[in-house]
């Protein structure tokens, strides 16, 4: 919503409570069908929640809000197809009419702007491949458990985006010297007007980076509804929550935005804490760039394979850094061997890698992968526990059963 997220308006709020009930009837008339779930067969009902239309191959972590995880088997290509890209939403999925849509740029600027989609598209066009990962990817692996969507490994995907540089738009508005942060607000709204809207901000340096984009096209198609149609910001290499969808407002601020999703959520203890401990809120810092991480995409967990030469494959990424190497161990970490980085390469996009595993003897193996990045960061063997289960990046491991060929 466009309103100042900090300004409560009680009369409007109570009106909306009533209005909300009235709209149920309107909804039944079929005003909004794109998000309708496909009709469920008896079989589907017995086995689990119905798939979400257009994302049938994904694991439904929740239907409301829509949170969909990509199975590892679909993450074996450099570019993830749109129908396989993971989805993370905080509120509803708004369906925006692009012809009526505008982007407001205001706050600490010389010339506030209201841009139509055509005007936005007229800025110099940029194409870039970006890996996006939810900060909570891997949350289900934490002990003790932490609250939130219980992702396993698949809240990560990579796509080729087209759009414009955020810096070009901000420079047209003219940033005042007082402008130090840039806030993003989408057309999504919380279920209760009293609940915090999903609003995030990034420091001005990151906003002005030539790599921070406003994207309108994903893998050659208009940004799909669930991915933020018509416009999404992507601060390259930063957590998924920084990539605000369904953008309607960009506001330049003097300080970081002070809403719930900046001051309470997406924060991490500055100093390591004991598992289960409650950190001092003043000692928590806002999450920015992603960690170094790799995933084994083949063989899959608990796969049975014949005792013949085998290729272990995977992906590796490192947020704002680049992948320097990936190593594989098949002897429980006693020795590590270099995997081959292969395929296409672009900064802020994951690398594909593979490893030739010469004919292993029959038996049960734990295959492990560990990535190291250009800053020297490497995947740990144990995770730094944190209260919201963010940034899981323990080295990946899959159990592989090798049988006589």
């Amino acid at each position: 919503m466009l309103a100042d997220p900090k300004a409560p308006d009680l009369s409007r709020r109570s009106f909306l409570r009533t209005a909300g009930r009235l709209t149920v009837g309107t909804a039944l008339l079929g005003l909004a069908t794109p998000l309708a779930q496909a009709a469920k067969t008896a079989e589907e009902q017995a086995s689990g929640p119905a798939p979400v239309s257009g994302k049938e191959r994904l694991i439904v972590r929740s239907q409301n809000p829509v949170n969909l995880e990509t199975p590892i088997s679909l993450l074996s290509s450099w570019i993830t197809p749109n129908d396989a890209h993971f989805v993370r939403c905080h509120h509803n999925v708004p369906v925006v009419d692009r012809a009526a849509w505008t982007l407001v740029v205001d706050g600490e600027v010389e010339r506030p702007l209201t841009l139509t989609f055509q005007e936005l598209k007229a800025f110099p066009r940029v194409t870039a491949v970006r890996t996006l990962e939810c900060a909570g990817n891997g949350r289900s692996f934490f002990t003790p458990k932490t609250p939130g969507t219980q992702w396993t490994n698949g809240a990560v995907s990579t796509a080729r985006y087209e759009g414009v540089r955020l810096a070009d738009v901000l420079n047209r508005a003219g940033i005042r010297p007082s402008g130090k942060h840039v806030m993003f607000n989408g057309a999504d709204v919380p279920a209760l007007p009293s609940a915090p809207d999903f609003v995030r901000s990034i420091p001005i340096e990151k906003a002005l980076s030539a790599d921070t984009l406003l994207v309108h096209t994903m893998n050659g198609e208009p940004l799909p509804t669930m991915h933020g149609y018509p416009l999404r910001v992507i601060p390259a290499g930063w957590i998924g929550a920084a990539c605000v969808k369904w953008l309607v407002q960009i506001r330049v601020l003097r300080e970081a935005h002070d809403g719930h999703f900046m001051v309470k959520a997406y924060r991490f203890p500055q100093a390591p804490i004991a598992p289960g401990a409650e950190p001092d809120p003043t000692q928590m810092v806002s999450l920015t760039g992603l960690e170094v991480k790799s995933l084994i995409t083949a063989p899959l967990q608990n796969a049975t394979v014949p005792a013949s030469p085998l290729v272990v494959k995977g992906v590796a990424w490192a947020g704002e850094e680049e992948i320097a190497k990936v190593e594989v161990s098949i002897d429980l970490g006693r020795t590590w061997q270099a995997a081959r980085l292969e395929g296409e390469r672009e900064r802020y996009a994951w690398r594909l890698w593979d490893f030739q595993w010469g004919a292993p003897e029959p038996g049960s193996y734990l295959v492990m992968a560990r990535a190291t990045d250009s800053a020297g960061r490497t995947q740990p063997i144990e995770q730094a526990w944190n209260p919201s289960g963010y940034l899981w990046n323990v080295l990946d491991r899959v159990r592989v059963n090798v049988v006589k060929s």
Binding site: M1, L2, A3, R12, L16, A19, G20, T23, V24, T26, A27, L28, L31, A32, T33, L35, A36, Q37, K40, E44, Q45, A46, S47, G48, P49, A50, V60, R61, S62, Q63, N64, P65, H91, N92, V93, P94, V95, S140, P144, K145, P147, T149, Q150, T152, A187, D188, V189, P190, A191, L192, P193, S194, A195, P196, V248
Partner: protein, 104 residues
């Protein structure tokens, strides 16, 4: 226009709720039956699906943080009801309750 946008959001939200109101199936995402399960269902589904609740495993302290957060967000929960919710949650969705296959 602001209000219009907000209402449009509400329409869609309720459309989603109505159109997806077939109960979420599959043991992994269902609330376990138990005392006060209806209170949990009613309160939590005011804003989100209960599948989000059913996949958590927290102790009473962890659950109270979550419930108090929701109350701060505007969930209309009385002190007595808060207690009932917490007792259900720690009993049926506590750290020792097994996590069903398909959710891990």
């Amino acid at each position: 226009m602001q209000l219009g946008r907000y209402l449009a959001g509400r329409v869609l939200l309720f459309a989603m709720l109505v159109l997806t109101s077939v109960p979420v199936q599959g043991q992994s995402l269902k609330l376990p039956e138990g005392k006060d399960v209806e209170k949990v269902r009613t309160q939590c589904s005011l804003c989100h699906g209960v599948e989000l609740v059913a996949q958590q495993r927290l102790d009473r302290r962890g659950w109270s943080r979550v419930v108090d957060q929701m109350i701060a967000f505007g969930a209309p929960v009385s002190p007595a009801e808060r207690d009932a919710l917490l007792t259900y949650l720690e009993t049926y969705l506590g750290p020792k309750v097994a996590i069903p296959e398909g959710m891990r």
